[in-house]
Symmetry: C2
Subunit: 432 residues, 2 copies
């Protein structure tokens, strides 16, 4: 058994003064949390152990990015301050048409490096060149739920069969960290036959789905014109809600959609930064929470964010609802933090096994240095984290008990090579 004891840390504790205890430790055994609590109450079993001194930092569950297209890190800032159609038609799609597996691999590695520095330990991916993405996730050591994108208004072009193959080849890889599902892109890019077929394959394989839903008012209304019902109702009618179906965006959801999603037990991946930058609007998150929908947080791709920083999404998830609804109580700091942790765990189909620090969960955790001016004085730790803190404060990121980021260093990545290869790929995509 491999045991690591993270000593001298703080832990969130709602019952404690300022919502935090110090003098705590977290014991990790074979990639799982064995103990998280006061250091003086820890009684390890016999056997050797490594010690990691947290230097007083706060241990948190790793943040979870529930909706992204990681390789789009290559397109960071390549297209902004533009209308959506120009963004897509003139910038993003031509760039994507030039992508190859090599570019997607290094774009994903770049995004993984960024996410690890930001304290993100797991992500839910929808893109293509999925073998390259899976290789990058495996090499990078992150936890990932991968959904091979399926588009097709006139047949699926063999994409569903390829998605089934990806599932066979990669589900359970990376020591179980990699899980594979199907990613029907959206109602407006897939025929009903393709959508239904995706649902059927997912049922057969026992895997989940991941789809964009009601990201903009326009697509939402066009679906109603085409099908006489909202996208969420259409997906339900086609069987997509018979399996776990991770729904991205939901900006234009109506009350009936929200009730349906709540009843179906599906998770909504809220992407507030992307929704703002692409001028889609603000999703009705407060109403979703009130209806009992589990909300997770996604960065979307870096072409529309422009980073992969779940801290920023937590902040936005809380403050946007307050500002837009004119209700300072709309979404609390604690709720925003839960979206990034427990909500993300449920989004990735890892409910109960990540997103919390307690005995039995996987050791996907981060250390956050709160001994910095923007955390002083200590009044309420959760509010400090969500409203004042940020990715800048992450000093260590661990997945499955393995340290993947440590104060600017990447023990498992050749970061200089990642930078150079990503720059090469970008030069190929943008050049000539």
């Amino acid at each position: 058994m491999k045991r690591t004891i993270i000593r001298n840390c703080m832990l969130l504790d709602d019952g404690a003064e300022h919502g935090v205890i110090s003098g705590a430790c977290v014991a990790v055994e074979d990639g799982r949390i064995a103990y998280a609590g006061p250091e003086d109450a820890y009684r390890p079993e016999e056997g050797p152990s490594d010690t990691l001194d947290a230097c007083g930092a706060l241990a948190l569950p790793g943040l979870i990015n529930a909706h992204t297209h990681v390789a789009m890190a290559l397109f960071r800032s390549a297209a902004n301050d533009l209308p959506l159609q120009e963004w897509l038609n003139d910038r993003i799609w031509p760039l994507e048409a030039r992508l190859d597996g090599e570019a997607v691999y290094w774009g994903t590695m770049l995004g993984i490096a960024e996410m690890l520095a930001n304290g993100v330990t797991a992500f839910s991916e929808m893109y293509f060149f999925m073998d390259d993405i899976a290789r990058a996730a495996e090499a990078g050591g992150m936890r990932a739920s991968l959904y091979r994108a399926v588009v097709g208004l006139y047949g699926d072009g063999g994409r569903i069969a390829d998605a089934v193959r990806v599932h066979r080849d990669w589900d359970g890889a990376g020591g179980g960290r990699i899980r594979v599902g199907l990613g029907p892109h959206a109602e407006y890019t897939c025929s009903t036959a393709v959508l239904r077929s995706c649902a059927e394959r997912a049922k057969e394989m026992g895997c989940g789905l991941h789809i964009h839903v009601s990201e903009t008012r326009r697509e939402h209304e066009e679906c109603k014109e085409r099908h006489g019902m909202t996208p969420a109702k259409l997906l339900k009618s086609l069987g997509l809600f018979d399996v776990p179906c991770l729904l991205a965006h939901g900006v234009a959801l109506e009350e009936g959609d929200i009730q349906l999603i709540a009843r179906s037990g599906q998770v909504l991946a809220h992407c507030p930064g992307s929704n703002l930058i692409l001028a889609s609007g603000v999703a009705p998150v407060k109403r979703m929470l009130d209806a009992g929908v589990t909300v997770a947080l996604g960065t979307d791709g870096a072409a529309s964010n422009n980073n992969l920083d779940v801290w920023q999404e937590m902040y936005l998830a809380a403050v946007l609802q307050k500002g837009v609804l004119k209700d300072a109580t709309a979404v609390t700091a604690a709720q925003a933090l839960a979206m990034a942790a427990e909500g993300g765990a449920k989004a990735l189909g890892c409910d109960g096994s990540i997103g919390a620090l307690r005995p039995g969960t996987r050791a996907d955790l981060i250390l956050v240095d709160t001994d910095r001016p923007h955390y002083w004085p200590l009044t309420d730790m959760k509010r400090h984290l969500v409203y004042s803190g940020g990715a800048r404060d992450v000093v260590l990121t661990m997945v499955d008990g393995e340290v993947l980021y440590d104060r600017g260093e990447y023990p498992k990545l050749d970061i200089k090579r990642v930078r150079a290869k990503a720059a090469e790929a970008a030069a190929r995509l943008f050049g000539g």
Copy 2:
């Protein structure tokens, strides 16, 4: 003459590929920029000089915080997720009633430490215990425009006379970095006689004013009921726009107000983070820019933000307008950056002397490390800064040619003492 040459840096350049040039240098002579451009074109005059290696970092003008109450850093996260009236009546005002000069001094020092780490070089302050704030600004080395708060619905309680004294005692202190004006708090906290009197004293002293205006819809409408006109029109009618009058918030401004402010040449300090967290809404910034209003950025106090991070305000200034107006072109990255630099300079009455890196401006500058995953690949530097970058990337902060922050170190501050004294003050305020 004291000369420092900042070598091996990048500089923004709209004409260059990706909007940036490398291999540049900035020469600082007696606190002023003497040169900023390609290193190989720099021809220094004779004489000794120090060299500072920027290690390839990007040199930017220091960001400017155009509306804040710095000492409220002591109340960080002490009151959130609450309705505005509860926030004010039950939390903030009772805390403020317990403030003393010692607490304000150390709260201000804490805020200064935070702002320096965030690359903020100047701030515009409205609060009380102004001598203590001035002492902190002087000791901390920051540039500050200080406006002693004046409230009074039934006479000013001697506050205007005290503000005049503060002007006499402190205007021009700190080697000219400290400027003093009058801070009538708001229409709803001052009688028209008090407002008019503030305007008259400001005219006599040749100084500016700083006031909250139309922060919420409610106060805006109540002013119309009381006075038959909007707050902006009332201020104009009372003579406040005859001098530079820095207007904070402006969430509820009407079209006529915006036109009036544009014609009067006044600056609006936009505080998007505070306006969201307090559920006030989103100011009509796009309409202000279209009308020709100069917009600056403010964090407001840390009790309603909860940090003093102008990067976050830049980000919000750009993306909120896009999201709320459903127009991705509404405010660009370049416009948001200009709000934090040139806009802030004008807000502080330092137009042309700070907010830009060019020969003759004061050497208020920062170095930003862009050799980090969230800046890769390099596509467009201004978009990278506003949409992906943040305070985390600031490695050095200089005011008037003096280094005040350098990779976590504060050459002029005893940061441990600041932390301890701020914690002591907070314990006194919150305790017993």
